[in-house]
Amino acid sequence: MISPTDWFWPLSLTLLAIGYAVVALPLRRCGRWPGGRMVLFYAGLVVMAAALTGPLAARSHGDLTVHMAGHLLLAMLAPVLLALSAPMTLVLRALPVSGAKRLVRWLRSRPARVMTHPVTAATLNVGGLWLLYTTDLYPLMHEHAWLGVAVHLHLLAAGYLFTHAMIGIDPAPHRPGWTARAVVLVLALGAHSVLAKYLFAHPPAGVPAGASEAGSRLMYYGGDAVHLLLIVIFCRQWFHASRPRPEYRPTPDGTGLAGD
């Protein structure tokens, strides 16, 4: 029997890849979409595919270490690539003006603001992991294929939301300042490290004692690698945003451009 997960992810990822090309290529041709962002988006899709299809997905059911490798790719690395490819900006550019206006209004709405706030995004992201590995959700997601799909969708979406809140380059109205985001970033990465070490001695339900040690180490040190990437991008963005600029001085002609 074909399990739903055998076709769901390959089909979804293929549709995403084709859909992106249909939207981005015309814009690319008239110079309104940078090629680098296309590369980042497709790299993100490849990383997703590596986690959700093929040997990694097949072996992750019985092996926490393989599952963790998939987690690092799907919920941590892929979101970095996707967030830096500015998918929302692409949608806004591709939509007709009225549609883009409606989308922007929705992005500025209260629910969207609450969802993309760093604290909400971090809670959904790390909180979801704590729920997954410390309750019966972990064995259940392997028994029920669609529950597995839902869990993976949540991991990806929450990872993306968090990454977007920290280093996204899409429009982010009402985003808190650098210090507030840095505090949330450190707390979230810390919670990930705490969970990784906790699993060393407290395996998820259904994983035999001792079998979680390698998975715990991979989550801890592999997580570090992606965390470092996030931190460097975050600090680089600060460095760029806080570069010294010529001081604003009112000038007689009212342009405000200091002429020195």
Partner: protein, 159 residues
């Protein structure tokens, strides 16, 4: 003229002095955490990834400081690059910050994490007293040197 929110304030002398100290402090914390992980965990294998007697509070403290030390190292270097492009590096103040960061974090690790929270010991299967004394006395010495240097750099700045 004030700049709009979220862009950088024009660098004031006090702001620059604080940024030198902050960059140093963060780098010190990052450095000592790096040495701890590289030398004591990975090379000597004195420290353990997880000690079965680790308390939950110890685990939380370890995880948060682990993440913070990564952030601190990178942020310190970007802050330093920012000071350089503003021609605002004050080497003495920066070095004082490093020493204070190293000493304070080493002391926190030695007293709170190892002893109070039972994260892990410095080494296993040996008499711990000389190790604990060496660890914490070294931490105090570095911390003291950093504070002394900070006071002196304050005097030279005012002069």
């Amino acid at each position: 003229m004030s700049m709009p929110a979220r862009t950088e304030r024009p660098a004031s002398p006090a702001g620059l002095a604080n940024r030198n100290l902050l960059s140093g402090l963060l780098l010190g914390i990052g450095l000592v955490a790096f040495i701890d992980e590289a030398v004591f965990h990975q090379i000597l294998h004195w420290h353990h990834f997880y000690d079965r007697s680790t308390t939950n509070a110890g685990l939380v403290s370890d995880g948060l400081f682990h993440a913070f030390s990564f952030f601190a190292t990178v942020a310190a270097l970007f802050l330093f690059a920012d000071l350089r492009r503003r021609d605002g590096v004050q080497p003495r103040r920066w070095l004082a910050g490093i020493l204070i960061g190293v000493g304070a974090f080493q002391l926190y690790d030695g007293l709170v994490q190892h002893k109070l929270l039972g994260l892990h010991e410095i080494r296993y299967g040996v008499d711990l007293l000389p190790y604990d004394l060496g660890w914490n006395v070294a931490a105090l010495a570095v911390l003291g040197a950093g504070l002394a240097l900070l006071l002196r750099s304050g005097r030279t700045d005012r002069a």
